[in-house]
Structure formats: C-alpha cells, structure tokens
C-alpha cells in the first residue's frame, strides 16, 4: 500500500505538469531548486523543470533514523519523468525539524558528543527554546538582510528561464524576479492541513532548505499516522501572500477550495470588495526561497480530488470536496 506525496510543479496557466515520483538516496541528488545551505542538492543536467518532486512512502520505513545527525542535504530526491512512479522505500532522509516527531531529536542526542556548532540543532524540535513568533520575526530579518546583501537566492542562473516564466498570475500580479520580497506576517511556521484529517499541524519551513525535505517532513507528519493512504497520490498546495512590490496596495487574501474546516469556507474579501474562491498554488513550482517567503498555508489533497484544480486559477466555482480518509 503505497501512496506518494507529490509536490507538483504545475502552476501557472498551463497544464498541470507532470507528477513525478522520486526515489531517494541511491542515485545522484537532483533538484531544480537552489538550496540555501552549503551542502546543496546538485542539479541535474537534464532537469525536467515542469516536473514536480515527490517522495514515495514506502511501508517499512517507520523508524528510519538518519545515520548521521548532520543531515546531508545532498540526500534529496530525484526527479523522474511523469510516468515514473517508483515504489522505492526511502531511507536516510535528512533529519528535519518537524513538529511532533522525535526522530531528529533522538538522532541528535545520541550522537557522541554534540554536533559541531549548532548545525545539528536546527533540526531538533524545541531547540533552541525560542517562541515561534520570535523565530519568525528573526527569519524575516535575516531574509531581508540577505536580500539586501544582494544574495541571489532565487537561483535564476541555475534554472532555465521557462520555469521562471511560469507566472504566479494572480489578479494580474506577477512575481518579481528580485529577491527583495517584502515579507510580512508569520513566516517560518506555517499551518498544514490534510484533507480528511481534522487536526492541522505546523511545519517549520526554516528547518528545510529544499522541497524534498519539506515533502519528507510532511510525509512524516501526515502519512505515517494515517495508514490508509491508498494508491492515490497526494498533492501539496500552498496559499501565498503577495510576492512583490507594494504589499499595501494589493491585499492578498488566502484562497480556498471548498474545504471541511469552518474557517476555510469564509470567502475573504478582495480589495475591491468582491469575494472570490480561488485556487491554491501547487507547491514545487517556484524557487524554494521564493516559496518560503510567500507561503502562508499548506494543504494536502489527493490527486483524484485535485485533478482539474491545479491548472486553473479562475475557476472559482469549482469546489472539490475531499473524501474523508
């Protein structure tokens, strides 16, 4: 019984893009996004950029612990073609900071001595003991400082231009291609809801530097505790805030597809007073940094329900009810 957690790169106005399963770890590390930390994922020569990233669940991976606490971010997933849904079990994923799991914490604390510096500690839940609110403020600061320093975190050089041209077109907003994103609000920890599971979770995006590790974390969070994923793939959507320019001029509501939770059914008002249900973006499309700076919420849906949702931004009346698991 395998399912997959698939982060699709299929945003924009075009088709949904392919979904890709990813087998981890044995083969060379491939990623289409730049990662911030030094142990970067390497890039494939032949990156299929409209493909997403995915990780297969595997059944027997209940207690995998990474061999070393210092995660080699290099152990990221591999992008395959859309037709490729391998059922490889993953192991040795990076130890990620995920609310509620202790795997990372265990692996860190059982290391002989402490890891060098604090490189390992960002992966331990609850350490350092800083409130999420404060952590997010620091993140905003650090990001704008890095942006100011001209750090091209977007990785434009490394991606073919067509990926960037996939516009996050929303009411005519285009993504600025610069990194000086005016971030406001609570970044770092974002809420994640999976359809069919009433209890949402929070994931710390700062503990991840690429989509693969995020996918891994989400998988740990949601797909381990539910054992009925079945064979369908799951998609991760995110809702985002305005990415550029004058944040005050464009108020970006969260857009929801009809969902179970009460707060999600309230249609937020746009600036001109109209309200609209819109779509969520599929995760995996934009460079990681841009994603992290703009994401506000994540939502995991099954592909069966999500079919037809992803490509369209303005099919506002298209409501999909997700089936309970």
């Amino acid at each position: 019984m395998e399912g997959e957690l698939v982060l699709l790169g299929g945003g924009g106005g075009g088709g949904g893009g392919g979904s890709a399963g990813v087998s981890t770890n044995e083969s060379a590390v491939l990623s289409k996004v730049e990662v911030v930390v030094s142990e970067a994922c390497s890039y494939p020569a032949e990156s299929e950029l409209e493909l997403g990233l995915g990780l297969s669940l595997g059944g027997a991976t209940g207690k995998t612990k990474p061999a070393t606490a210092t995660s080699s971010w290099g152990e990221c997933g591999r992008i395959l073609t859309a037709k490729d849904f391998p059922s490889v079990t993953k192991n040795g994923g990076p130890s990620v900071s995920v609310s509620g799991t202790k795997r990372a914490a265990e692996s860190v604390s059982h290391e002989g001595g402490s890891p060098t510096g604090v490189s390992g500690s960002s992966q331990v839940v609850g350490w350092p003991p800083i409130r999420a609110y404060r952590m997010n403020s620091l993140v905003n600061q650090a990001k704008s400082q890095r942006a100011d320093e001209g750090d091209s975190g977007i990785g434009e050089k490394d991606k073919p231009k067509d990926a960037l041209k996939k516009k996050l077109n929303y009411n005519g907003n285009k993504i600025s291609s610069t990194t000086t994103v005016n971030e406001k609000g609570h970044l770092g920890f974002v809420k994640v809801n999976m359809d069919g599971i009433p209890i949402g979770r929070k994931v710390d995006l700062n503990a991840h530097s690429c989509y693969q590790s995020l996918a891994q974390a989400l998988e740990d969070m949601f797909l381990r505790s539910t054992n009925s994923v079945g064979n369908s793939s799951l998609l991760v959507f995110y809702s985002f805030s305005a990415l550029c320019g004058d944040v005050n001029a464009i108020k970006p509501p969260l857009f929801f597809i009809g969902a179970e939770k009460e707060q999600l059914t309230k249609a937020p008002k746009l600036l001109d007073g109209s309200s609209e249900f819109g779509d969520w973006m599929l995760v995996g499309d934009v460079p990681w940094r841009m994603f992290v700076s703009s994401v506000r919420r994540l939502r995991i849906m099954r592909t069966s329900e999500a079919n037809g949702l992803a490509p369209r931004f303005h099919d506002s009346n298209e409501r999909q009810r997700s089936k309970p698991i």
């Binding site: 839940v125 999420a132 949402g200 700062n206 969070m221 108020k251």
Partner: protein
C-alpha cells in the same frame, strides 16, 4: 450554652478580614483552618487562578466559589511555546466560558494563557459578561478578528484588551470599528501580535483619540512609522508604548514630528516594538530615555554603536530585552549605566547560524551581574560559557529569582576547561537561595542535579534539555526540590526508576513534562493505575501505545495532578493511562 471561642466572630467580620487577603495561596490556607472559615472564605473569594485548566473542572470551581469576578486559566504545557505540543492537544476554553456564563454574570476579568479560544468562545464572552473589564489572551490561538469584533461591540466596560503573543486569524481589518463611538474606557490595548490586514488604522486613531484614560498601547508591526506621531499626539498620557515597524526613509518632517510627539509624552516609561528599526530614527526617543524603566529592543536589528549609545542614555532602566547585537561591549555599558537593572533578556539574532555572528559571550553576563546589584531575572542566549563565569555570576547576584541560560549548542562544555558545566550551575543554586526558576543547558552530568536537589529548595520551575546521564539525576530533583511545581524535560536519558520511586512527589507538583526521554509505556501504565489523582497522558503520533511493547519508550509524557479525573477532549494522539486503560484497549 454555646461555647464561646476566640474564633466566634460574626461572619461579616471574618469576611471583612478576608477581604484584605488577596493572594490565592493565603486564601487557600485560610480556607482549611476550619469549616466555618472554609464557608465564609468561599463565598467571598472574588479572584481565582487555575494553573492547569485540566486540574479541576469548571463545575467544581463554580460549586465551591459562587461569586467570582476574576479568573485566570492556563492551558497547554510551557513547551508548547516551542512547538513540542502538536495542534489539537487541548486547552479549550469554551467549556469554561459556557459554564461561567450562567454562574458568573458579573465576571470582570478573564486572563487566559496558552489556551485555544474560538470565535464562538469570544462571542459567548461578549454576550454573557456585560461587565467585562479585562480580557487578556496570552499566547492563545484559535480565534479570528471576528471574535474580537464581538468583544469590541459588546463589552462597554472594557478597559484592557491584551492579545499578547496570540495567533489570530486575520479575516477582516475592521474589527476595531466595532467599538462604538460612545466607548471611551480603554486603558490598555495590546495588538502587537496581529498580522497584516487586521487593523484599520483610522479606526485605531479614532479609538485612541476618544479614550482619555489610555495608558498602554502596543501596536502591531504593520503600523508604519510615519503614523505614530499622530497617534502619540492623541495620547500623550501614555505610560507604555509599543511602536510598529520602526523603519522608514529618513525624512526631516517625519523625524521632527516623531521627536516632538515623544517629547510630549511626559509619563512614558516603557517602550517596545521597534521592528526593523533603523538607527536614523533612534534619536527621536532620546527625550524619553532618561525616564525609561523598561525597554524592549528584542525585535530591533540595530547594532553597535547605535545600540550601545541608546542604552547608555537610559539610566533608569529596570527591564531590558535586547538581541545579542548588543554584544559584550554593550552589556558592559549597560552594567555601568543602569544601576537599577532588575531583568535582562538577551535573545539570539541568528540562532541557527553555525558561526557566531556577534561577539556576545559569557563576559557580557558577568559584567552585568557585577555592575547591577538589583539584577534578579535573567534569560540569556549565547554560544559559550565557563564554570568560572557562572560561579562569578552566582557570587555577584545571590538575589537571582529567575536564571535561564540557553547555550545554542545544547551540549556544549565549558569552553575553557572542556568540563561539564555542573559546577557553574551548582554555584548558581547554592548562592541564589531564592531561585524560583531555572533553565539549564550545556554539557551536564548527573552531578548538577545532585547540586540542584541539595540546594534549590525554593525552586518552583526547572527546565532541562539534553542533560544528565541516568535516572539518578531525575531522582535528585524529585526528591530534593521541595518547592518544585513544574518540571519540564526534553531529550534526557531518564527512564522509569526515578519516576516510579518518586510517584508521590508528582501529586505535590502542578505538572511534569518529559519528551524524547526513556520512560517506558509500562511505567506509565503503572503510574496510571497506582496514582488516581494524577493524569498520565502519553502522546504519540505514530499510533496507539498498545501497539507497542511495554518496554518501549513513550514519545511524550505529560503528568499532572487533577481532581477532575482524566479529560475527554483528547485528540487521537493522546492517551490517558488511567486504571481502565489496559482493559479498554484489550
């Protein structure tokens, strides 16, 4: 003939005497003297503090205290602040509000900490408590601006609305408009946690303008700097002010307006906010600095020399919160300038960086401990420490009541001797006889716990992470710390023995949290069976505990005393180990 005793005062006199006893602890003591005192006391108690909302049920509270006017409730365990408690754990306030709505129509004050507050709860509060004056939601979540709108619309007597550190769903920017135009009683407003779209600035301005008693105003980050002058000019009587974002292009008109506005606030003593602060605008507060008793720059990315220069202008400071940009040099200036300093908190600007980005070490804290004789409360994040420094600090400050040291690398040793930091922390507990709260970090063996058990007799709250070697450590603490109320432990090799050997101690404490330790499921079950007045809650997101062996360690364990029995609002990943646990699942 009735026996006359020294205590046969008329009830009214006793009641009058009791009215002078404000502290809950003292009232509790008075209530157990005899039955008549119990009765009189319970009828005239007006204020109640419930440190763990699951320790007692609302029904029981209402039954005993029929006329409460002020209630304070706390929900989730402290480690929830650091994301160790998954969403859905509990801490719902609605059951309390529902019952109090009928029983306490004259309720005036509601203070909640780490609770889940829904819009429904807030609407019920608004409807039920027309006399509500104080609403404090400290680190709460689950509500939106709709709930706030209901409060604003209905609570005509509200004086204090404090949303400190809460997570609010931003749905509409106009909840402030719901305060009617006739509403003028606001004294304290803290909306610093609100997100981008939450506050209609014009409504805020009007509100501030018509509330002459407003003394405390903490804005949220989105309020731009150029609007502050206007706001301050409407409220020159403010005592405490929190800015919004403190960054803007330098413009002389904005600058001078700000300077003038601050200058006119003759009562201003506390400043905070300063998000994104740029040095250019710092001097506008210089006129206030000499009066400042509290300054919170912990969201301000300003660095030396601007930061130090600012600090040196505040000789009256009693409380200082700052980022580690202040560095050792700035702390030395603080030590020489601020002789009234009582509380210092230094937060890390880059907690996950591998290399230190600032020169903040143990030396800064040593300097402050040496220069500030009134220092008694410390929260200090840094990257290196030595036993020698800790001993010096302990000797300099025997009056510490709160000492929390966080070394960013949790198991780092004394950087000079490479020894564990046992001796240093031992000195702290030995010299600081009034220590009530202690957080440990660094490389620590069982020895430090032996010192703690031996000396920390007034310690009420202890936080431990990545420390100790064996159960003996936990045993030292549980058996030695007589005043211990809250113990929270993460990632320590503590197992069953100490816990089981000190089971009775747990009933004298409010709560015990252990996560990523080595307590077995079997021990939890045993505790659950043997200790009916404790709730033993096992949290595990991988599946029900009965699917694993008895000897398997549990992921998270939360034990608290309760007279209300096990709770029934647990999410699927929490199991309570009561007597029926074993039989329920079989």
């Amino acid at each position: 003939m009735q026996k006359k005793t020294a205590y046969s005062f008329p009830d009214e006199i006793l009641e009058h005497v009791f009215s002078f006893i404000q502290s809950g602890k003292d009232r509790n003591a008075a209530s157990v003297v005899c039955k008549s005192w119990y009765e009189i006391e319970r009828w005239c108690r007006r204020k109640i503090f419930v440190g763990n909302c699951y320790a007692v049920s609302p029904t029981m509270v209402i039954r005993r205290f029929p006329d409460i006017r002020s209630i304070e409730l706390k929900g989730k365990p402290h480690f929830a602040d650091f994301n160790l408690v998954p969403d859905g754990w509990g801490g719902y306030v609605l059951p309390w509000i529902s019952e109090m709505a009928g029983a306490y129509p004259w309720l005036e004050e509601i203070r909640l900490k780490r609770m889940v507050v829904t819009d429904e709860s807030l609407e019920l509060v608004a409807k039920s408590f027309t006399n509500l004056q104080v609403l404090v939601l400290f680190s709460c979540e689950g509500f939106s601006t709709d709930g706030l709108a209901a409060i604003a619309a209905s609570c005509k007597n509200l004086t204090e609305l404090d949303l400190r550190d809460s997570e609010v769903d931003d749905l509409s920017g106009h909840w402030l408009n719901h305060f009617p135009d006739t509403y003028t009683s606001l004294v304290s407003l803290n909306i610093s946690c609100l997100g981008s779209d939450d506050v209609s600035f014009s409504a805020l301005e009007r509100l501030v303008g018509r509330c002459p008693n407003l003394r405390r105003l903490l804005l949220n980050r989105e309020v731009p700097l150029d609007k502050i002058a206007n706001l301050l000019s409407r409220a020159p009587q403010l005592i405490e002010f929190g800015t919004g974002t403190y960054a803007a292009e330098l413009r002389s008109d904005v600058y001078s307006n700000l300077a003038e506005a601050f200058c006119n606030c003759k009562d201003l003593k506390c400043l905070s906010g300063f998000w994104d602060a740029v040095p250019a605008y710092l001097p506008v507060i210089y006129s206030v600095c000499s009066r400042l008793t509290s300054l919170n720059l912990s969201y301000a990315p300003i660095q030396n020399p601007d930061l130090t220069k600012l600090v040196s202008q505040c000789p009256s400071l009693q409380r200082m919160w700052v980022l580690d940009y202040i560095e050792d040099s700035g702390l030395e200036v603080l030590a020489s300038s601020c002789k009234d300093l009582q509380e210092l908190r230094v937060f890390p600007s880059d907690p996950f960086g591998e290399e230190p980005n600032v020169s903040l070490t143990e030396k800064g804290l040593v300097a402050v401990s040496s220069g500030c004789p009134k220092l008694h409360s410390v929260l200090y994040f840094c990257r290196q420490m030595s036993n020698e420094a800790l001993v010096t600090i302990a000797q300099n400050c025997p009056n510490f009541t709160r000492f929390r040291l966080c070394l960013l690398d949790p198991k780092i040793a004394d950087y000079r001797t490479l020894q564990p930091l046992d001796v240093g922390f031992g000195a702290i507990v030995e010299h600081c006889k009034d220590l009530r709260r202690l957080s440990l970090s660094g490389l620590l063996t069982d020895r430090v716990f032996e010192y703690i058990g031996m000396h920390a007799k007034k310690l009420e709250m202890l936080s431990v992470a990545f420390a100790g070697e064996s159960d003996l450590a936990l045993h030292h603490v549980l058996s030695g710390c007589e005043s211990l109320r809250k113990l929270e432990i993460m990632n320590c090799p503590f197992g069953d023995k100490a816990l089981l050997a000190n089971a009775a101690k747990l009933e004298t404490m409010r709560s015990l949290w252990m996560s990523s330790c080595s307590v077995s499921l079997g021990a939890c079950k045993m505790l659950g069976q043997k200790m009916p007045r404790l709730n033993i809650e096992v949290m595990d997101e991988k599946g029900p505990p009965d699917s694993r062996a008895e000897s398997d360690p549990v992921d998270k364990l939360y034990i608290y005393r309760s007279v209300a029995g096990p709770r029934f609002d647990m999410p699927p990943f929490v199991w309570t180990m009561d007597e029926d646990f074993a039989s329920e699942l079989s």
